[in-house]
Symmetry: C2
Subunit: 452 residues, 2 copies
Amino acid sequence: MEKLKPRTLSGFMELLPAPQQQMERMMEILRKTYSLYGFTPLDTPVIEASEVLLAKGGGETEKQIYRFTKGDADLSLRFDLTVPLAKYVALHYNELSFPFRRYQIGKVYRGERAQRGRFREFYQADIDVIGDGKLDITNEAEIPSIIYQTFTALGLKRFEIRVNNRKILNGFYAMQGLTERSGDIMRTVDKLDKIGTEKVKTCLMEDCGLTSAQSDEIMKFIAIAGSKEQVLASLEGYRGQNELFDQGLDELTSVTKYLSAFGVPDENFAVDLTIARGLDYYTGTVYETTLLDHPEIGSVCSGGRYDNLAAYYTDKQLPGVGISIGLTRLFYVLGEQGLLNPDLPTAPADALILPMTENLAPAISLATALRAAGIRTQLYTEAKKFKAKISYADKLSIPYVLFLGDDEIAKNQVACKDMTSGEQLTASVEETITRIQSGLTLRNSGAVILEK
Amino acid sequence: MEKLKPRTLSGFMELLPAPQQQMERMMEILRKTYSLYGFTPLDTPVIEASEVLLAKGGGETEKQIYRFTKGDADLSLRFDLTVPLAKYVALHYNELSFPFRRYQIGKVYRGERAQRGRFREFYQADIDVIGDGKLDITNEAEIPSIIYQTFTALGLKRFEIRVNNRKILNGFYAMQGLTERSGDIMRTVDKLDKIGTEKVKTCLMEDCGLTSAQSDEIMKFIAIAGSKEQVLASLEGYRGQNELFDQGLDELTSVTKYLSAFGVPDENFAVDLTIARGLDYYTGTVYETTLLDHPEIGSVCSGGRYDNLAAYYTDKQLPGVGISIGLTRLFYVLGEQGLLNPDLPTAPADALILPMTENLAPAISLATALRAAGIRTQLYTEAKKFKAKISYADKLSIPYVLFLGDDEIAKNQVACKDMTSGEQLTASVEETITRIQSGLTLRNSGAVILEK
C-alpha cells in the first residue's frame, strides 16, 4: 500500500511524552493556583459564529483568523479567550452572580506567519473578574498577588510584575495637550525596551509630530523610576492638573497599598510608567510580567482593567480586570532556555512490574495494591528478554522496577530496584510501597521551572 | 451602539459554572485513573492536514468533517483521537518506547445533524496501548479492569462491561460458509437490542439473503448466554472446526482468566456474543459498557483490539488495544437522568471573606492564610449591603462565610458561618481553618455520579 507521509502542521505544538508531562504539570499548577483565589473553571467552544466572534471587527486579528463555512454557517475558531468570555457573560448574564470570577485554560488559533517559537494553535491561561456595573479597585490590587503566587508555584523567583495605570498616562497626555496623539505616543513609548531612549525621542518628534519641548516632557515623565514609593511621590508632583490623572494616581496608590499584605515582595514588583498595553480596551491598571534574566522574551503574563467587557453584545456595563498567560509560548521559551527542571519525573509510570512466573495472578494483585496506594503502575507482560525489559524502564525513566518470581511469591515479598541508585531490595509489599512512596515524594518535590 | 445577539452554536456544549465544576471533576478522575495504569498524557493539534487526517478516506466520517482552506493549506478538524494517535506514533516512532501507553482527553468535531443530546464538538477520553510488531494478550485482559476502576471511581455501580472477540465471530461465520456476508450479518445482529430477536431473524433472511437454517444457526449462536464460564463452555462445543475461531476462543479465555485477579467482579462483566463494534479495524477482543439501568443510552465506553494502527502512514506493524469514552455525551446523559451528585461542592470558592473594616490588611492576611491551607478563598470587597453579600455566597453555594470586624481582629479571631447548617462560630484562624478543612473533606467525600 502507498504510504502517506505522517506530519504535524507547522506552528502547531505536538510534544513527546516527557515534555508533555512537564506541560501537564504547569497546567495543573495554574488550575490549582487560580482555584485557590476563587476562580471557577470555564470551557467554551473552540468554534463560534463568525459574526459573534468578529463583532468588534477589523484589525490584525481578522486577517489571522481561521474562518470557514460549514453548510450555511459562517464559522471561526476563537483567537483569544476574552471575546468568548464577553459572549458567555452577555448570554448567561441572568444565571451568573457578580463579581464573576472565572479561569479558562484553552487553545486559541491565529494564522500567523510561521516562524520559530510562534504558534498558530496555542494555549492561553486566563483569569478575569467581571463586575456588574461596578468593580472595586481591590480586585485590581489582588491581581499582582495572583501573578506572584502563580509564578512562585511554577518555581520562578527572578521575575518582575510591572504595573501602570492608563488613566495616569491619558491624564498626563491631556495635561500636555496631546490627547489626540496619545495612541501614537503610547505605541512609540512601548518600543523603549527595543529601540532605546534616543530613538524613542526621535520617533516622538518625527513620527508623532511633537515639539522638542513636548518630547522632553514625555521623556522626563517616563524616566520616573525607583521604588514604588519613589514613583508615587514623583507622580504626586503632577497632581491637581487633570482629574483623570488624579483618579489614576489614586488607583495606582490603592493597588500598591496592600501589596505586602497580599504577600508580594518589593523585588517582584515595580511601577513602570512606560507600559501601556497595546489593546484599546484597557482603561485603568495594566500589568506586564517579565523574567529578569530573559527580558528578550517580553511579557509572559499581561492584562489590565477594562470598563466594558461586552459592549458589542449588551447594554449592561460590565467592568472587569484580567490577565493572560501565553502558556504554549512560555513553555516553548522555558524549554529553549533550559529552564525546565529535568529532575522531575516524566515517566508514564512510577513502577514497572516484571512478572517472572507463568501465572500472572500474583503480579496482577501486586499491581492492584500499588495502584490502590496511588503509585502509577505498569504491568509489563511482553515476551521479551530480561535485558530488553530493563532497557524499556530505563528509556522511559521509570524510577522503580519490581520483580516477582516464585521465591518472592512464596515468601510474600517483592524485589524492587531503584533505577537511579541501582539499589535492589527484597521486602514485603507494604514495605516496598512505603519505600516507593517516600522516593516519589522526594522526586516530585522540585519545582517545574528551575532558574540557573 | 447596535448590539449583536450573543449566542453559542447549536451542538456545542457550553456549561454554566456549577455543572462545569462537575465536568472538571469527571475529567480529573479520568486523568487520575488512566495515570494509575501507566498511561502518559498526550495532546495533539485540533487541526491537521486534510490529506493526513483523511488518509483512510470515504465513509460517513468524511461527510461530517470540518474541512476548510487557510492560504494554500487544506485543513481539517480531528473527528476522533485515533487517527491523530496513528499519525503521532508513525511520526515519532523512533522516539517512542513500545508498548506505548497513552491517554488523551480532547475535543473532536463532527458536523452531525443537530439534535438533542448530539454534539458537534465533544470530548473523547481515550486510552490505547500500542505494540511494536506484537502485543501480548494480557493488555486486552487489563482493559476491563481499567474500565471497571474508571466507572467505579466515578461512582457507578450498576454497569456491565461486555466483551466479545471478532475472531470468534469471523471464525463462526466461516464455519457457516458466510464469510463474505459476515459484515452485513454483524450489522444486523448489532441491532438486536433495538429491534428484537424476531426482527433480526427476518432481516438475516430478507436483507442478508440467508437460508432459514443459516439464520437459525446464527440465532442459536448469539443466544448463548450465562456466566462467563457457561458461555466459554458453550463455545468450546464449536472448537476444532475453524482455526480463527479457536484462536479467538483462546484469547477470550485469556481475557476472562485474570478478571478476578484484576479485581473485576463477576456482576460487572459479561461475555456477549452479539457485540461486534461497527468499525472495520477491530480484529480481536471488543468491548462495550452499558449502564444497566439505562440501556437506552447504549455503550458509554467501547473499544477493542486492532492489528494495524497506522497502516496508512507506515509499514511498521503496530497492533494495539484501546477504549474510548464519549465524555460530553456521557455527561449530558447523566445530567438528563439526574445522576450527577448534587451534594458535591460546585462553588467557585470554599470560603468567602467579608471584611468589616476600612483597613483591608487583616482580611487579606486571613485570605492568604486560608489559601496556604489549600482552602479556595474569595475576598469580597464590593461596596454592597450586608444582605447582598450573604445572598452572593448563598447563590453560589459557597459553604463558609467569614466575617472580620474590629472585635475579631483585636482578639485575633474570625467569625465563620457554615452556610448549610447556619451555625456561626468565632474562633482563632487556626481553629477556623481546621473546621473548614474537615467540613470540606466531608462535602467532597461523595462520588460524582449517584445512582438511584
